[in-house]
Every structure is written in C-alpha cells, then in structure tokens.
C-alpha cells in the first residue's frame, strides 16, 4: 500500500468514526437510487438450501492477490473464497474502515465457520464451493455492473446457489 493510500485510509476512518452523520450523508449522496425491489421467492425450506456468502469488507485468501487499494477509483474485481477456507487462511484489504478487528477475527465480516456449523447440524443443506470477497468504496459502479456482477451471477447459477448472505464492510 502506498503512503498516500495509508494517509487516505486514516483520514477516511477518522471521518466515518468521528462524524457518523456526515459520513452517512456522504454515502447517501453517492448512491444510485433504485426503484422497486426485485424478488426471488424460495420454494423450499432452509434444510434444502445451498448458501453463499458475499462481503464488501475486502476479504480474500492470504495466498490471493490483495485488492488494489492504491487505485483512486477502487478495485471492482472479486476474490473467490472456498467454503472450507479456515480463519487463519483469510485476511482483509480495505482502507475505508479500521480493518484491524477483522484481521484478528475474520468472522466479524465473513461468518463462514458459523455457516459450516449449520451445515454440519443439518439446518442448511450446503455451502457454495466458492464464496465472494469484494472491496467496497467504489463510487462509479458501472464497471462492477458490466463485469464482476454478471460473472458472479454465472458462477452462483452454475453452483445452484439458493440464498446469498451479504455482509458490508
């Protein structure tokens, strides 16, 4: 991470921590408002469902390429996280929140072990083989909508995922 990015990260975290109302206003100003709510209705119980996890908290395997936080436009790409990934194999790369807590315990942004427990108990049918790590803080999302989202949709459809749980940063 460049020195410039480190300073930007410190300022951003200080801003969102000390001025939560201003941070909310800033974020609201940059959202693309959408009308209506698309809907999938599940036709089966949880015990028959395959679950996938997606986060924008910047989670990735330590062996994988970190997100490019030096790019001012943000990193629109995604990282694949296998269902069996252990906590010590994961890390986070993100500059818009204080990531030291998530580095200590990645389950605060990516509760994969809790989903594995539910699978072992039979409360859910299974986990997606591949789960998704994203890096939030992207203001222009057109690239994400044209590339990453269709690819992730194809991946999940191929895996026959029933439910996706989404966790922000």
């Amino acid at each position: 991470m460049k020195r410039k990015t480190q300073i930007k990260s410190k300022l951003s975290v200080a801003f969102s921590t000390n001025f939560p109302e201003a941070y909310k206003k800033f974020t609201l100003k940059h959202v693309n408002e959408r009308q209506g709510s698309p809907e999938t209705v599940l036709a089966k119980p949880l015990t028959e469902c395959k679950i996938a996890l997606i986060t924008t908290a910047g989670v990735h395997l330590k062996t994988d390429r970190p997100f490019d936080v030096d790019n001012p436009a943000g990193d629109p790409t995604y990282r694949l996280i296998p269902a069996a990934a252990q906590e010590e194999e994961l890390t986070v790369t993100h500059i818009y929140y204080n990531s030291k807590f998530a580095k200590t315990d990645p389950t605060i942004v990516f509760p994969l072990p809790q989903l594995r427990e539910l699978k072992d108990k039979g409360s859910i049918h299974s986990l997606a083989d591949m789960n998704i790590g994203l890096n939030g803080g992207i203001l222009d999302t057109s690239n994400v909508e044209q590339e990453a989202i269709p690819q992730v949709m194809a991946l999940f459809e191929n895996e026959q995922v029933d439910i996706a749980l989404l966790v922000p940063g």
Binding site: S16, T17, K24, T27, L28, V31, N32, E33, R34, Q35, G36, S37, P38, E39, T40, V41, L42, L46, I51, A52, I54, T56, A57, H94, Y97, N98, S99, F101, A102, T104, D105, T107, I108, V109, P111, Q114, L115, E117, L118, L134, G136, I138, T141, V144, E145, I149, P150, V152, M153, F156, E157, V161, D162, I163, A164, L165, L166, V167, P168, G169
Partner: protein
C-alpha cells in the same frame, strides 16, 4: 455496491439477506431484504471472538431470506 449485487442476485433467482449498518443508504438503493445491526462500521457481525452474537446474526439473516422482498428487520440480541 453490495446492494447492486443483492438486486442482481434476486433477478437471477437467488434470494438474498443483507446486513445493514446504514439503513437509509440500503433503503435508497432498494436492497430487497435487510437486517439492521447496532454494531460499528467494519464489525457488521459483532465484536471479535463474540461467537454467540455471530451465530445469532447468521440465524436471523437466514430466517430473513425466507421473508418477502422488501422486509426490513432489526437484529435481536
């Protein structure tokens, strides 16, 4: 950005449930189903090593996925 994923997933036949720390923002994006949590930014599933809370968050999210689109719930600790 996560809200855009949520909408695309629902359009692809995959039900979603999303944690939100800023409900005004997720409502503006039209995220189909959200659970508002009282936790800090960067700790959406609670404090490190608080696995009791983690389990409750996951259980409540899964239950939310079965509810109609447009449902907003508050996390119950």
């Amino acid at each position: 950005m996560l809200g855009l994923y949520a909408r695309a997933l629902e359009e692809s036949g995959i039900a979603t449930a999303m944690i939100t720390i800023l409900p005004e923002v997720t409502d503006a994006v039209g995220v189909p189903r959200t659970m508002h949590v009282p936790f800090k930014l960067g700790r959406p599933c609670g404090e490190p090593f608080d696995f009791e809370t983690r389990k409750k968050v996951v259980d409540q999210l899964l239950a939310l996925a079965l509810k109609p689109s447009g449902t907003r719930i508050e996390y119950e600790g």
